[in-house]
């Protein structure tokens, strides 16, 4: 099966006061229809920028984005318009991602109005269907965002993303602003929608337990680079990169049994501005050696399990 989305050597640099900020640095992956790619990493690792760059909400510095076999790295205005009907985004913060002065139905209607394909009556019907789909009661039609709780706001965000019937949705931390009991409701909704509509998700998050739950493949990012990518279960059972190991061990587990040994990393994320050519994790890595100062090559350890670490074979589990 051909991939729905193919990203090759994607780069996004920002100019900053003291040099070039390497937000996304040479990321490649493919995503099939109906599948979910989880992207995890800590704040500042470039995971959010990656999603936005793929959607051309900011323009890539370099690299290739292929969607359904079509190169959309440098889209024309019309191509961009067509592309945005196929690729959508759900934002992290349901409090700031909705215009506070637009009512629920106006907000859901907006993408359809802009698309300009449907009549007014058709749009009204479609909004009704969408509200049903995401589980917002009809009585909230004329409510404003500040009158709703976080879960309902996020449902509106999802309805807006679904309105144009896309095939691919970037989910940028869609549940991290929500309470756990609401979080589970939204995750279930997203899983149901994926099943019904064959959606492909790129699920960006810092929450590893959520990402394991929802993803087929997981990509771990550190300072703009992919350090490891593997099928979800494989990543957790056969962790190779020292950063992934530290990250996994740091998740607080809601259980008082089988407390695992925690790897406490020294230091914090270094600056992504003008990074040195070698491994970016080197400064915090307990296994760092001389070879690590050279650029790291992404190696396929086993089928579909990639790791960018020259020492991974010598590190015992």
């Amino acid at each position: 099966m051909a991939a729905l989305l193919e990203v090759n050597g994607l780069k996004k640099y920002f100019k900053s006061g003291s040099g070039m900020l390497h937000a996304v640095d040479d990321i490649s992956f493919t995503l099939e229809a109906g599948k979910t790619l989880g992207v995890v990493g800590e704040s500042g690792c470039g995971k959010t920028t990656l999603g936005r760059t793929i959607l051309h909400l900011t323009d890539p510095t370099d690299g290739e984005i292929v969607f359904e076999g079509k190169d959309i790295s440098n889209p024309t205005k019309n191509e961009l318009k067509a592309m945005r009907e196929e690729m959508q985004i759900i934002f992290q913060d349901p409090y700031s991602s909705l215009n506070p002065r637009m009512s629920v139905s106006t907000a859901i209607m907006e993408p359809l109005v802009l698309q300009g394909k449907l009549s007014k009556a058709e749009i009204r019907d479609e909004v009704k269907t969408l509200m049903d789909t995401v589980g917002i009661a009809k009585r909230f039609e004329n409510a404003y965002p500040h009158e709703l709780d976080g879960g309902r706001r996020q449902r509106i965000g999802i309805a807006r993303a679904l309105a144009l019937k896309p095939k691919f949705i970037v989910c940028d931390e869609p549940v991290s602003a929500l309470d756990v009991s609401i979080q589970a409701q939204i995750i279930n909704l997203m899983l149901d929608l994926q099943e019904e509509r064959g959606l492909a998700y790129m699920f960006v998050t810092h929450d590893l337990s959520v990402v394991k739950y929802i993803s087929n493949d997981i990509m771990v990012m550190y300072l703009g680079q992919m350090v490891e990518k593997a099928p979800a279960d494989e990543l957790f059972t056969n962790t190779l990169h020292p950063y992934t190991k530290a990250l996994l061990s740091a998740i607080p587990v809601p259980s008082i049994r089988n407390k695992k040994e925690r790897i406490i990393m020294q230091g914090e994320i270094t600056s992504p501005i003008n990074p040195k050519p070698g491994c970016r994790f080197m400064a915090r890595c307990p296994y760092a050696a001389e070879d690590c100062a050279a650029p790291q090559v992404l190696e396929e350890h086993s089928a579909n399990h990639f790791v960018a670490c020259c020492k991974y074979k010598t590190i015992k589990n």
Binding site: E42, S43, D149, G150, G151, D179, V180, S181, I182, Q183, A184, Q185, I187, N188, L191, H206, L208, S209, V210, K212, Y213, I214, F236, A246, L247, S249, A250, I251, P252, V253, P254, S255, I256, R257, R262, I264, M265, E268, I269
Partner: protein, 323 residues
């Protein structure tokens, strides 16, 4: 009981606004033993922060109103203290760490000065002595004292939270109120900060009230756990009671809502519905509408707290003892 550093009895706090009364905290009882870490777990709007602010007496009144109850700190009712006496306790014997390290520090003073100031306020010591102790505190939270003269913006998020913790611990308080101290931090940094708090607590013998929504954090560092829902503590017990024998349907629901790393289930089991509007709480059990096992009795009466095992309290009709 002499071994309790803090006892909250029947605390009721309301917020009075122009057109409604928000019932934020409804007869909460909670005690913290000396040297113990108690986790206070609940969702947004459950009343966690209001409880902490009541203990510190930093609630804005109005709109907040402390309606009834007692807060005994070292057997002294701090709700009855004058503001002057409270100032001697606040920051000195009871300290608080706030959720957001980005805004908890004054951006135009050096971090060292801010810690030294906190020390100087409560101790009659010379300037030089305060500076020396501030340097010690920085070292203790893992920041080189050479950074004494730096400003908050020169620190990363995790480092700032360390400074905030150093400030809170500067006067060697008996009780530390930690309000979501790691929520704004990344997991690896959270692990560092939690571990540091743990070892400091053991060294200094501080009692801690750990307020969080993250059951993982609770499992890591708390001996006792109180689960709060809509302003009421619905379950209280030791970590074993809560994590191994959760009994209140809300607590069980919370655990079920979490995606587990070691499970392959394809669907999560969320708690249906939403927390009730705190301006209009139901007459019966507050969790009734979302409870999978609710009966008619649950909707009509508010259940009493029952002790189903020594030290394990549950506010529910459906527990074994209640039946």
């Amino acid at each position: 009981m002499a071994d309790n550093i803090l006892e909250i009895r029947d605390l009721v706090v309301e917020y009075h606004t122009d057109d409604a009364i928000v019932h934020a905290v409804n007869s909460v009882n909670l005690s913290i033993k000396k040297g113990e870490t108690v986790g206070l777990v609940g969702e947004t709007g459950a009343g966690k922060t209001t409880i902490a602010r009541s203990i510190m007496r930093i609630l804005q009144t109005p709109p907040a109103k402390l309606c009834s109850g007692e807060i005994l700190f070292e057997e002294q009712n701090i709700m009855a203290l004058s503001e002057h006496d409270m100032r001697k306790i606040r920051g000195n014997k009871i300290a608080m760490i706030f959720q957001d390290p980005m805004t908890a520090l004054n951006p135009i003073e050096t971090v060292g000065f801010q810690i030294a100031e906190a020390i100087g306020l409560h101790n009659k010591i010379s300037r030089a002595e305060a500076v020396r102790r501030a340097c010690d505190m920085l070292e203790m939270v893992g920041i080189p004292s050479a950074r004494y003269d730096e400003y908050p913006h020169q620190f990363s998020g995790g480092m700032k939270q360390r400074v905030v913790i150093a400030m809170a611990l500067a006067c060697n308080p008996e009780l530390l109120l930690a309000d979501e101290p790691t929520t704004a931090l990344d997991v690896t940094i959270q692990a560092q900060v939690l571990e540091m708090m743990q070892s400091l607590k053991e060294r200094l013998g501080t009692s801690v009230l750990m307020i969080t929504h993250d059951l993982g954090v609770v499992a890591d560092c708390c001996q006792s756990v109180a689960v709060i829902y809509a302003g009421e503590i619905v379950e209280y017990g030791t970590a074993e009671h809560i994590f191994e024998a959760a009994t209140h349907p809300y607590t069980i629901g919370l655990f079920n809502s979490l995606p587990k790393l070691d499970s392959d289930a394809r669907r999560l089991i969320p708690i249906k519905g939403l927390m009730p509007d705190p301006t209009n709480l139901p007459t019966g059990c507050t969790f009734c509408e979302r409870c999978p096992d609710a009966t008619e009795k649950c909707a009509a009466e508010s259940p009493d707290v029952v002790e189903i095992a020594p030290g394990h309290l549950v506010k529910c009709f459906l527990t074994e003892v209640n039946k």
